[in-house]
């Protein structure tokens, strides 16, 4: 198992636009530079267990590259440098090594944060705090006999005890979880998984499947009162592409493969799945299936439920799968939908057949500025009505637009900044746009060149009808590039008493505006009531459009100085915000899932009978609650 600290290549895909040959060349260069020699045919063997795991961007010992107490790669983070300026470290991302002169002031102004007031996080994981492992001797004995890789190592266990909810990261920084997995196992393939599940049933051991660990609904958290041994079943070694079928345009992959590896490896053959959740650097196919994930480019490729053709899952009662790979069938309720969104409560997804598409010939970014959020939403609604949404279309509200400015890197050429200034002048003065009202939409078009250009024109024409002004490719591209680094920002904030989180919902078109306004207002009110000293940062964006509605994503953060139990306060506010969402016709979740974080509302979301149906499935499939992470129900 070699570790390749190569850059997160996929993220460098983002050159503004190009012809197909340019694009292909670029990809090739990136790939040849950083990836180990392409896997030989053995990797595509149909007997994967005997084959070594494929190369992965994330090693088996995650701690070698990933932070123990924050998001992402060890080498990539926001810091305040010696000059007191914000800077993003590392070389993985485009922003790497750049100074962001406006960020500090933004933090100070938005949150009342100050560099003098720093929190004191633990410097490293304290092994002595870790609760002792509960060992099921019988299980261990039988497991050893199988030869499947496992570990009791404290770090290994802690790394698989959490996802990336605020409370989880906060806990790591300030203390430790009361309950963590007792043992980590790494099955190499479907058959290994089968054995592990069998042994778990035999010895009554609790299994929690672990994919990329990017869960944001406390789905990976161990139930504190679980008395049985808890085994974290890490799928990372089941990460091969088992076969490609170019006739039918499908790929059969193991569920532990992570997004960036999947896209890179498919790219080598000129294909992609097009499934790009913002967490794709770390999250896995199995995780996507288990949470009903949604990718940025779903408008072209669909969400995970549209992408999967076949799923294989190991459950305590046996293996569930369909007998064919047909595109659609009428055979009673679709069993895939018991698996999609099961959040690790029914079994382990081991293999998935997923749709693939040829890598698009041409990509083009774009952006449009609207005088206000209302106009922006109206435009997105019209684009959805005409069913001409580009691969991605996202509308940021004013606060996020301003925040985008805070993340502008220092510019080397005065020329650019002059242009920048002119642009700002142009928008704010000439067109009568109010800098405190305007908002921006970022666009990504994909396809063959001609069609992209046509499509682009159509979209810009619609935008113009809603007062939208084209604001250039660069702004669009920057927007998408930032998506991946924004997740790193929370760690910087936490150094300065700022805590925050994002949460999402989906809602019908007619309620988008009302929901956005009410939720933001509710957050502001709750903060005030709970004694938060500074006005919170609460902002939203529309990240997906559908025929009948949209996905709305909120960011919410505040300065917690002066609060004795900030996490509790944070949680109360998030509960209030979720209640507001539900009261405004929003869904419990568009793609993050329920986990344990949102369980309390599932019943009212899907009715008593709905809960009953889920329960009876669970009772049949897993009567002894082997998959005991207690998500959903």
């Amino acid at each position: 198992m070699t570790f390749h600290p190569g850059p997160s290549n996929y993220l460098h895909r983002s050159m503004a636009s190009g012809t197909s040959s340019q694009l292909a060349q670029r990809r090739l260069k990136i790939i040849s530079g950083h990836v180990q020699p392409p896997q030989a045919r053995e990797a595509l063997s149909l007997h994967p267990c005997s084959a070594p795991a494929a190369s992965s961007s994330i090693p088996k010992r995650r701690q070698e590259v990933l932070k123990w107490n924050g998001w992402g790669y060890n080498d990539s983070k926001f810091i305040i440098n010696k000059k007191g300026q914000a800077e993003f470290t590392g070389k993985r991302y485009k922003l790497g090594g750049m100074v962001l002169p406006a960020l500090r002031e933004w933090m100070e102004k938005t949150f009342g944060a100050s560099l003098e007031h720093r929190t004191t996080s633990r410097v490293s994981l304290n092994v002595n705090d870790v609760p002792p492992a509960i060992i099921n001797e019988g299980f261990l004995y039988d497991l050893k006999a199988t030869g499947i890789s496992y570990s009791f190592d404290t770090e290994d266990r802690v790394f698989r005890a959490h996802g990336h909810c605020l409370n989880e990261i906060f806990t790591l920084r300030e203390g430790l979880f009361n309950r963590i997995p007792d043992l980590v196992v790494w099955p190499n393939c479907h058959d290994d998984t089968l054995k592990i599940v069998e042994l778990a049933c035999k010895h009554n051991v609790c299994i929690i499947p672990f994919g990329g660990g990017t869960s944001v609904c406390n789905a990976l958290e161990c139930p504190e009162d679980e008395k049985r041994a808890i085994v974290s079943l890490d799928t990372s070694q089941m990460n091969r592409i088992l076969w490609l079928d170019e006739k039918n345009l499908t790929a059969h992959v193991e569920a532990g493969i992570i997004g960036q590896d999947l896209e890179r490896q498919l790219g080598e053959s000129g294909y992609c799945t097009g499934h790009e959740p913002d967490s794709m650097e770390f999250s896995t196919v199995g995780g996507w299936v288990a949470t009903r994930a949604s990718g940025m480019k779903k408008n072209i490729y669909g969400n995970i439920e549209d992408l999967v053709v076949h799923i294989k899952m190991v459950t305590p009662t046996g293996v569930i799968e369909k007998s064919c790979q047909s595109p659609r069938m009428s055979t009673g309720p679709d069993i895939h939908h018991f698996i999609l969104g099961s959040e690790g409560t029914l079994g382990v997804v081991t293999e998935v057949t997923i749709k693939i598409r040829p890598v698009p010939e041409y990509q083009k970014y774009g952006s449009v500025v609207f005088p206000n959020f209302e106009q922006g939403v109206a435009c997105l609604r019209e684009i959805a009505r005409q069913r001409c949404a580009p691969a991605s279309i996202r509308l940021m509200d004013n606060a996020q637009f301003q925040f985008g400015h805070a993340l502008k890197p220092q510019v080397s050429s005065i020329f650019t900044s002059f242009l920048d200034g002119l642009k700002k002048f142009y928008i704010t003065k000439f067109k009568g746009f109010d800098a405190n009202q305007l908002c921006v939409t970022t666009l990504l078009f994909e396809g063959d060149r001609e069609k992209v250009l046509q499509h682009e024109k159509q979209v810009y024409d619609i935008a113009a009808k809603f007062g939208g002004l084209a604001a250039g490719e660069d702004n669009g591209q920057r927007g998408y590039m930032l998506t991946f680094v924004i997740a790193y920002l929370r760690d910087l904030g936490m150094e300065y008493y700022l805590i925050g989180e994002s949460f999402e919902t989906s809602v019908s078109w007619d309620r988008v505006l009302d929901l956005c306004r009410n939720v933001k207002e509710r957050i502001a009110r709750e903060c005030k009531e709970k004694g938060v000293q500074f006005p919170p940062f609460s902002t939203c964006r529309v990240t997906q459009t559908y025929d009948t509605g949209a996905c709305v994503y909120f960011y919410f953060a505040f300065n917690y100085r002066g609060l004795s139990d900030p996490i509790h306060v944070y949680e109360q506010i998030e509960v209030a915000a979720r209640e507001e969402i539900l009261a405004n016709g929003g869904s419990l979740s568009h793609h993050h899932g329920v986990g344990k974080l949102r369980k309390q509302w599932l019943r009212e979301s899907i009715s008593d009978v709905g809960i009953g149906m889920l329960k009876s499935v669970k009772n049949y499939v897993d009567p002894n609650n082997i998959f005991g992470n207690r998500n959903l129900l």
């Binding site: 309620r511 306004r517 405004n584």
Partner: protein
């Protein structure tokens, strides 16, 4: 039942102890010192709602007409009736024209000027609690606001707009009855000052309802201006708070429930008149003399009143109440998720109950913040001593009542710098049309000679005076009603056991639930409050199982006498209903029948209860009997008919009649 009123009552002192009230400022004072023209022409830049998207009245109307809500109803009606949508749309436009306001600054300035003149002539002071104004100013900028004033006079909405203008607040858009429409000039002016008009009855007219509701909601959603209407629905002719209407209240709360606004604030406003402009008009109306149609010339004739003095007005802007806060935990807003919001749904049970509850709460706040004048106390005492009493005794009793009112939480405006005698005397001067001081005796005017044989004409004359006087007593009844009903129950009940008294209390509270304002479903709390107040002034003692009442106590006698007219009137109405001659009757037949019946009783001296002549009382009684199922209501071809269950009516009469001490005994005690 065991939990019922423990000897150390669960009713906490805190809840009742007069919450600290704000100070008042007389806004006429400045008017008397500086130019009215300048005032009317002042720079007027009212504080506005932060989310306001500015729009003109015309645009507002178009927005309403084009709204999904109205268009949906138009399409539906077209389908139902076969009429073309265009024609229905035109009809909708006409409704909007009839209804719509056309807020104009010029008209507002005109009113500011003329009202300054008129108010200075009519009233001594117009007092406003400025802290309330400050609260209002704040909330107006944050949220859509609904002003909910009490309604005693046409002056109410002029006055309120005037005050808003004075304090640089946006003048409200007002939902008022269409009976003004007859007065062309006035209605035009009123419109321009923000009033819009609603037909009193538009039952069954779907289009009207849709247009009207959408109009109000659009104003709320846009935060265009504060919306003002009267929870009581109409002017109270008796000065007693009328039981609330729910329609408009549920309309203004709807945008919140549907998430169209984050919140909506209701601001109860209590407007107390020391003397009401319409006092004699109301008395006529209550006696069933047809109300003169409000025509412009009629109003001009009313100029006569400009030469009279109507004392002070107190306007108290209560604490703004957040609908969101009220609804939290009570209304599940999910119920709106499954139907497009422009399709109006039948309100759910919990919503209906909620609206009802809010309406009552608002009225209770209004009552709590009503300023009571010494004149009301004088009228109360005098009414228990008709036809007149010694001046000295009146002063003494008024003082006694002042203290009692205060200890019961009444909000009194008693001039601290004057002697009691001066205070009483100035009240008599203010009400000189009603009472006068002759040879050391204060008498109610109204031409009744002690010995002369009564005729219907004399009865009518006297009744006018009594009802006018009653309207001042009525300003204070809601302060006393809870302890009074406890006191009366303890006299009526079969024993002094708590349960018996409580049951009697519930019976009375139910019977009189159209007369006084009780929060639905809080009988126990009302009972406890009554007990608490009586214990406080040592009238009753509560032991583990009993409530021991000192029947000789002056407070008990006073309270019983104060509410005796209600008890007796209801008894008389029961008697009328159980008459053999009364079979199936219409509302009209009931009115004239009961009126004749009562007059005969009065002429023959069989009763002294002139209040039984009040139409208001009669209608309240009929409607409560219908609610209690004692009288059944039937819809027939040409209206409603009623039929009384005589046995049940008799039972109520008997219950009301038990052990009420006769007037004679009472008089001697007081």
């Amino acid at each position: 039942m065991a939990a019922l009123v423990s000897s150390n009552s669960g009713y906490s002192q805190k809840e009742l102890s007069c919450k600290k009230k704000d100070e008042f400022e007389d806004i006429l004072e400045e008017r008397r010192q500086s130019s009215d023209i300048q005032y009317a022409m002042k720079c007027y830049t009212p504080a506005i709602y932060k989310g306001l998207s500015p729009c003109k009245p015309g645009t507002l109307k178009t927005a309403v007409l084009k709204s999904e809500q109205v268009q949906y109803v138009i399409k539906q009606l077209s389908k139902e009736t076969g009429e073309s949508p265009d024609i229905i749309q035109e009809e909708a436009m006409e409704i909007l024209e009839e209804m719509g306001h056309s807020l104009r600054l010029g008209a507002i300035r005109f009113f500011a000027f003329t009202l300054s003149k008129a108010f200075k002539k009519l009233f001594q002071r117009v007092c406003v609690n400025e802290e309330g104004i400050q609260r209002l100013t704040q909330v107006i900028q944050e949220h859509p606001v609904v002003l909910l004033p009490s309604h005693r006079s046409y002056t109410d909405f002029l006055l309120l707009s005037y005050i808003m203008f004075t304090y640089d607040l946006p003048v409200p858009v007002i939902a008022s009855g269409t009976d003004f429409l007859g007065m062309k000039m006035v209605s035009g002016l009123l419109r321009m000052s923000g009033a819009f008009f609603m037909r009193r009855t538009f039952h069954g007219n779907k289009l009207y309802w849709a247009v009207f509701a959408e109009y109000v909601k659009t104003i709320i959603r846009k935060g265009y201006a504060p919306v003002e209407f009267f929870v009581e629905g109409t002017r109270s002719r008796t000065s007693k708070t009328l039981t609330p209407k729910f329609g408009l209240l549920s309309i203004v709360m709807d945008p919140f429930f549907k998430g169209e606004v984050f919140d909506t604030y209701c601001v109860p406003v209590s407007i107390s008149y020391e003397r009401i402009l319409e006092e004699s008009l109301y008395a006529y109306e209550l006696l069933g003399v047809p109300k003169p149609k409000e025509s412009t010339s009629g109003l001009l004739k009313a100029r006569r009143i400009l030469s009279e003095n109507f004392g002070s007005i107190h306007v108290y802007f209560g604490q703004p109440v957040s609908v969101r806060t009220l609804a939290s935990g009570r209304i599940n807003r999910f119920q709106y998720n499954l139907v497009p919001r422009h399709i109006s749904q039948r309100p759910s049970k919990d919503l209906q109950a909620f609206v009802r509850d809010v309406a009552y709460r608002i009225e209770l706040i209004q009552i709590e913040n009503m300023v009571l004048s010494p004149g009301a106390l004088v009228a109360t005492i005098l009414l228990q001593n008709l036809p007149g009493m010694d001046y000295d005794v009146l002063v003494e009793k008024t003082l006694w009542l002042r203290d009692l009112t205060r200890s019961f939480g009444g909000f009194l405006d008693w001039p601290g710098n004057l002697s009691a005698s001066k205070v009483v005397r100035s009240s008599l001067t203010l009400h000189s049309n009603l009472m006068s001081l002759v040879d050391g005796r204060v008498v109610l005017l109204g031409g009744r000679k002690e010995e002369s044989r009564l005729t219907e004409e004399l009865v009518f004359q006297w009744a006018l005076s009594v009802l006018m006087c009653t309207s001042y007593r009525n300003q204070v009844v809601n302060v006393f009603v809870r302890p009074a009903l406890v006191a009366i129950s303890s006299q009526m009940a079969q024993s002094s056991r708590k349960e018996d008294i409580y049951h009697t209390f519930i019976f009375l509270r139910d019977i009189f639930s159209n007369e006084f304002i009780f929060l639905p479903g809080s009988a126990l709390k009302d009972f406890e409050e009554g007990c608490f107040l009586l214990t406080k002034c040592e009238v009753i003692q509560i032991t583990p199982h009993e409530i021991v009442t000192d029947r000789e106590n002056a407070v008990v006698s006073f309270l019983a006498a104060m509410f005796k007219p209600f008890v007796e009137s209801y008894q008389i109405i029961c008697k009328y209903l159980s008459n053999d001659t009364t079979q199936v009757f219409t509302e009209k037949q009931f009115s004239s029948g009961v009126q004749n019946f009562v007059s005969q009783l009065l002429v023959t001296g069989a009763t002294q209860c002139y209040e039984a002549l009040s139409r208001d009382m009669q209608n309240n009684a009929l409607s409560i009997f219908v609610q209690l199922g004692v009288v059944t209501k039937k819809q027939v071809a040409n209206g409603l008919t009623f039929c009384a269950n005589k046995e049940a009516v008799n039972k109520i009469a008997a219950k009301l009649g038990s052990k009420i001490p006769s007037e004679k005994v009472l008089m001697s005690r007081l």
